[in-house]
Subunit: 226 residues, 2 copies
DNA sequence: TGCGCCATTATGTCTAGACATAATATGAGG
DNA sequence: CCTCATATTATGTCTAGACATAATGGCGCA
């Protein structure tokens, strides 16, 4: 086992078990270096990783301290729907409802855009509705894509490299039309997921996905540190 | 500006702008060290941080490559309700409905537990319902706490150091009783947030919070890298 | 031709030492 | 007793060099 990894994991374990409490002082780098018989730089690397993951806080001159736990931040994975449904062992299908060019776009995706609507199907039943705008100024090649054959999210993932995104999650009651498409009662709660995606500061796409509340949970794990 | 930080940020910018595409080879550490006029260890540190944040992938002998973007993972912050509401400029209040000891607990929090129910109020109106189990085997001091004066989440945050947690988010239709407590129509969609919290592998608490769908959105940002 | 071994190569990690930086503690002066 | 300058100290970062490790590509042998 690496010295750096060992130091990092042992300190993380002491913090997570409650042995070292928030505010407690972590031994100085020199003390740890002596205890583990390694160079100070090695200890510093381990503490740097712990600080990056939020488990400790380092202050010059003062020393290193066990951080106070955050309210709750968690890493949430929003899965690719095709993969998610395949993982359940169900057949996945994307049904395109409409695809039109639109010179105006909408508030969160202004300018000329491609407007796409469709349904994600699992085991022959509607699973989620999708309404998407793709900014043609950023992704002109979207005009040549066949969104009847491939869901736009899947296509974009293969054509647009690293982006930033913001997700907004809320519970809503579907409109009558949406309820019909999803095959649920008009009073059934649905989970709405709005995602806006930027590249280099400019909006690439905005998508609103509406999930059947009875078939979809978002799961987020909070696991500070490595 | 730090050399390490500069290298890291310039490479991250090249990736996020699309200049370097997924699968592209990043120059070797030696080349980068020569280009930036610094030691190889400095380059290695920068690349290590980029790899930790998922922007690049490093393989021995093969080199460093721009990673393929993940489906979508995002850091979600589940706020402290008291703080959230205070930030909106509204008055926050916690109303305790009941607090009983329970020898059995429930599935996700087995064993002797404290069962607490209450309402989070904002500006005089119900905002969220909470039903919580606190494992007395792990947190016996919870018996001495005054949960009429302080919301159990707030109390736990101050008494239980670093933990792991899992969140499950779904859209539900409230029961008639829940709708009444929240002051919404029985057909209004609500956002349910289930959080189970562990310390050192043992369940500390399980909480179910039910939010008014029209008053609460979860926001998650995806911003790989520093 | 095909298989397996080995040299090469790029990353992974560490060391010992150096200097920078920032915040605290201390002491001098008002 | 308070205030400000200074010394101290722990972290922050870097360097140059070394060795470890793993995967790849090519070479040699069958």
């Amino acid at each position: 086992m690496n010295p750096a990894r060992r130091i990092r994991d042992e300190i993380a374990a002491a913090i997570r078990s409650g042995e070292w409490r928030p505010g407690d002082r972590v031994p100085t780098e020199q003390e740890l270096a002596a205890r583990y018989g390694c160079a100070r730089a090695t200890v510093s690397k381990a503490l740097g990783e712990l600080a990056a993951s939020g488990l400790v806080e380092r202050r010059r001159k003062a020393g290193t301290f066990v951080a106070h736990p955050p309210v709750h931040s968690a890493v949430m994975t929003v899965p690719d729907l095709a993969e998610l449904i395949a993982a359940r062992g169900e057949a996945y299908r994307w049904d395109l409802l409409s695809a039109d060019t639109d010179d105006v776009g909408e508030a969160s995706c202004p300018g000329p855009a491609l407007r796409i609507e469709g349904v994600h199907m699992a085991a022959g039943e509607a699973f989620a509705l999708e309404r998407r705008f793709i900014a043609l100024g950023e992704v002109p090649e979207a005009l040549g894509a066949d969104f009847a054959a491939e869901a736009p999210g899947t296509w974009l993932l293969g054509h647009i490299p690293w982006t930033q995104a913001r997700h907004v999650i809320r519970a809503v009651t579907p409109t009558r039309k949406e309820a019909g498409l999803l095959g649920v009662n008009a009073s059934a709660a649905c989970l709405e997921l709005d995602r806006t995606t930027w590249r280099a500061g400019r909006v690439v796409t905005h998508v609103r996905q509406l999930f059947r509340g009875d078939r979809f949970d978002l799961v987020a794990d909070f696991n500070a540190g490595p």
